[in-house]
Amino acid sequence: MAKLSSLVQHIEAFVDVSRPANQQTVSIDAVASLLKNDLLTIETLVKEMEMYLTTTDNIIRARGILLLGEVLTCLTENPLGNATVHSLIRFFTDRLADWQALHGALLGCLALLRRKSDAGMVTGSDARALAESYVKNLQVQSLGQHDRQMCFELLECLLSGYPNDVASLGDVLVYGICEAIDGEKDPRCLMVTFHLVEILAQVFPDPSGPLAHYAADSFEILSSYFPVHFTHPKSDDLYVKRDDLSKALMLAFSSTPFYEPFAIPLLLEKLSSSLPSAKVDSLKYLSSCASKYGVDRMEKHSREIWLALKDTIFTLSSENVLSVVSESPDAMGFQENEVVKEGLICLHHIILQNSNLFINLIVEDEDVEVIFRSVTSCRSYNDITVEDRKKLYMLGRILSVSAQVSSSSCSRIFQTFFLRLMDILGVPLDGSFLLSEKLNSGALYLCIELLAACKNLVLDSQEYASKSFSLEDTCCSLLRNVSAALTDALSSILVLRMDQGVSEDIYSGVKGLQYLATFPGFLPISKPLFENILAIFMSIITSGNERALLWKLSLKALVQIGTFIEKYHDSEKGLGYMNIVIEKFIELICTDDSVMSFRLKLEAITDIGSTGKDFMLRITQGMEEAISTNFYEACIKENLKAVEILLPLLECYSSKVLPWFQNTGDFEKVVLNFAINIWNQIENILTVSTCFQKKDLLDATMMAMSLAVGMCSEENQAMIVQKAYNVLSLVTSLPLNESLPLSAPINVEGLEHSQYLYSFSSVDEWLISLFASVIMAVRPQTEIPNVKLILKLFVSVLLRGLVPAAQALGSMINKLPVKLNSTEGSSTCTLEEAMDIIFEANLWSLSVNDPLRKCNIMDRNKVGITNLFLNIYENVTVPTQAIVGLAWIGKGLLMRGHEKVKEITMLFLRCLLSSGKIRIFPVQQDSLGDCNGPDIDPFVMRSAADAFHVLLGDSEVCLNRRCHATIRPLYKQHFFSIMMPILLSSVAESDSSTSRHFLYRAFAHVISGSPVIAVLAEAKKLIAVILDALSTLSVDVMDKDLIYSLILTLSAILTDENERDAVTENAHIIIDRLIGLTSYSHKMLVRETAIQCLTALCGLPYVRIYPMRTQVLRAILKALDDPKRIVRQEAVRCRQAWESISSRSLQF
């Protein structure tokens, strides 16, 4: 009973119109949930509501019925008994007559009609009764928009759900619907209405049925909407767009063939309208209707349609046809405007439907004949008038569209036009072409269009095997007959008009040859002919006139032909292509002729090669040969010319060929060959001469080598490494032989003899650098022979300033395993061992009774690192190199997340602090004498500071993904969070200005190398230090890039919402510093960013920034006269921002 009382409350709440809307929604939900949970049956609800449903008070009755309707809408999923559904639908059907309460009734009907069969549906007889009541009682057009939409949806449900039952109503129903939709204007309702007509056509397909009877009337209603003109400013609030409406109307138009007598004349009439959108719509509708109405019905309209289409296409061709053609040779197409495009599509549909009839119309058309005659009457393209040129293009398009429809249409068009064109061009059907005079441009263009159409048709029919295209067709046999003569004719254009030709003719010539060459199989052209065409193109290419249009077009055509061969796996043509094009190109790059610049040759050859794998393989082979020969020339004979060839070759190899292989996959062998080949070359050269000098050549070779190695698999990498190692061990001057004891340090005397240290021949440099580039790129698992020896070698050469050795060392450290598998040989070593070797190798001047040695005896590594610096006072360069080496080693460690990196960084830090309190070299103090002076040369300090750049920077050369580095996620953040507190406290403690300067430098490197997110998290502590660093570093010009990266970080902090408080607190000092930087004369970007920061600071609380206002404005006034425009522009903005924070505007 409690339920019932709450039910009554809910019902009362809903029925009372004065209650707020949300309360009423709550009531509906409550009642619906009672029903859903089976706490209440529909019958009980109806009984309970009896009074509300039947009262004579219009408002209350309407509310009552609405409640029932709304509740039913919520219950579409719940099963209901047939009897219940029946009684409910009868009730609502009756209520349709009650116009005061119509809304609820419509809602209820819709809810019931939309029920699924498993939940209890309305029966057919009930639906019929509903339809009857609908037709009898409803005056749809007198209702409001929402009710109208529901009425139409109701009809839609009836027609699609109960077609047979409502169909028996016949004329009455169709008439009722026509009456209902007549004069509808709301777009949402129209969408439903148009669909309604579409369904209606399916319900009454009978030619003597009611729809056929009312076709004229119903089409009259529909036709008033065409063409859809819908300019609602914002389509999104109605969810209806013009295109949707237009599409729905199109479906309604083409829904039944009964509309044909009315629709086609209407569409043809609207086609001549001046509104472009009306034309486009008419053409679209025409295509759609033609296919729906069927051949028979369309036949009688075909003449009118052709005339209308012809008229549209010829008169509406776009005006800027010509300028486009001459400017962009790659698209002889001009910008077809949309009407013409749609017209051609429509033409295609209509020809497809009834091709014989239509082709006849076209062929026999007088206008076509007239145009054909007039455009082929002028000899040269320049003689054709602008008007005629447009017609020429359009005629070409029409003929090409018609020819592409089917093989029969193609044959027909070819018979009629192609023969005549051949005649005009002077190409005999059999026999050879005799060049007499200039070819007819118009005829040439049409001929090329027809060729393209025929080619596309053949290709299409090959792709869809169902449409068999017989090669014995007229057009093919025709083409076969003329192909030889045609080729001669086309090539004569290219040869004759190379320099002074009209670009259109050249374009036609190249395209024509390209089409002839890309017919599938050797039909209709023969193999010698194909090869002849390729030879013609090649002769143009080798003439080397790269600025000419002809050259570019020919290259493009060759690429197209290559792509075609690859796509259709045409092996025979491929062979010809290989022999004529590829071989010729390889010959080109191997021989030295000055007609074409070498880079141009390379560009052309990579374009050609990228069309297919076989071609690319052959080209790579050729390139490698060229590299080999030139390598020899360049290095032994010091042939400068060979260097000039080799450089672009290697660059092209790394920038084009290798990436291409990487994208296509399956490249291992090629790449391996390349790397091994280079090492072979070097091996050959080693035996003869020692002349390696070109630094840029070394760089290019290293780049190509490391790319190539990086792409290989482990086994192949191992092979390359082994090969390289073998070559390396041939050089006796390097300490790379087994006699060198592994455990012993490098000979002290040997190192102290400056001869060994500094007589570093260029051969050694080459070899080691190249070897380093191999080592940098190998995968972690790749086996490296004699790791320990290699490590030693690198350590010893890095001290002589060979950075690649340091990078290779870093890469090795990054990739070495922590633990060894027992199965592996003794040549490999673990990370620990490697570290030991690196540090032991430098224990050269350490005496046994050294106090440092004693106190640190537990930690050998640390001693080792420290001792790298013991020779500092003899020469500055050695420790500088050592620091660079350590930086790369540190980077390797850092990236894999190894702890030892901390020791290395602490060492850098100690270098930086050396003139402060911390003395790391007590041993050396005596020898130096003066304790107050700087212990370490500023150069060393500088490189220690820059080591942080190496640690956190991203390198292009090594230790990146391409080089298979081990990268621990978030390693930069990790390093930042460890280092920052240490750096900050060191800065605070440091009391020497030099030391502080370099500490700030290191700090700036760390800040700019770390991710912004990490920096932002610490922003509060950093702001003051960043500002100090900015002021310290701004003294030296050399630090300008650092200043820039610092100020970028600062600007990130300033614009971050979370840091607002910290920024506000420091506003004063920040603004002071920024003002200083607005006149930083060494870098424009710094000034610009400083001013941008000032502008951003304007958003801080008024109280904080107002006192700074005059100061800022004074600085900005100066910036308005900055030498750089961009800075001045920023200054204007900044000035405006700061001016506007005061109540009064401008001071003069």
């Binding site: 004369s1081 060494h1082 870098k1083 424009m1084 970007l1085 006034l1117 308005l1120 006269d1121 030498p1123 750089k1124 425009r1125 961009i1126 001045r1128 522009q1129 204007v1132 903005r1133 000035r1135 405006q1136 001016e1139 505007s1145 401008l1146 003069f1148």
Partner: protein
């Protein structure tokens, strides 16, 4: 404001393409880029017309060629063309131009604003008013006028 628009249906022209910023690598740090016509034009092109939601550039009130500038002699002259001859907004447009240039140029500059000869009914009066320092200062004391000027200038700072 006047009840009816002075030029109710102005012709709107296409605008000139904006300069794109060159790549930072090819900048000569110490080279001097003098203030030129194009830069002055960039300052004033986006000023909104007092009557219409179009910029002065779109209405061809100013063009790049109508600006004379001599960076060495600290002199700039802007000649503008009102859309109609009797345009009472000419003084407001001129005032906007002047204020914008005073705010955007270094203080060493002397700014001269003129109506193009023969394009305005009271050409001499307008020119005199626009180049009289006292009268410009007085005009900017007027809060209504100032807010109108600021509104017109707002888009040019974006």
């Amino acid at each position: 404001m006047v009840s009816a628009l002075i030029n109710a249906n102005p012709v709107v022209y296409e605008t000139k393409e904006r300069r794109v910023r060159s790549a930072p690598s090819d900048v000569d740090e110490y080279g001097i880029e003098p203030i030129n016509q194009e830069e002055i034009f960039d300052h004033v092109r986006d000023i909104k017309d007092p009557e219409h939601p179009y910029s002065l550039e779109e209405l061809k009130v100013i063009t790049e060629d109508s600006i004379e500038v001599d960076d060495k002699r600290n002199y700039v002259r802007v000649t503008f063309t009102p859309t109609v001859e009797h345009c009472s907004m000419a003084t407001v447009i001129g005032l906007c131009l002047r204020v914008k240039l005073i705010r955007s140029l270094p203080s060493r500059y002397k700014v001269d604003i003129r109506v193009a000869p023969g394009t305005h009914a009271t050409e001499a009066a307008v020119n005199k008013q626009l180049n009289d320092k006292e009268r410009v200062a007085a005009a900017l004391e007027n809060p209504n006028l100032l807010s109108m000027v600021d509104e017109c200038l707002a888009p040019s700072y974006a």
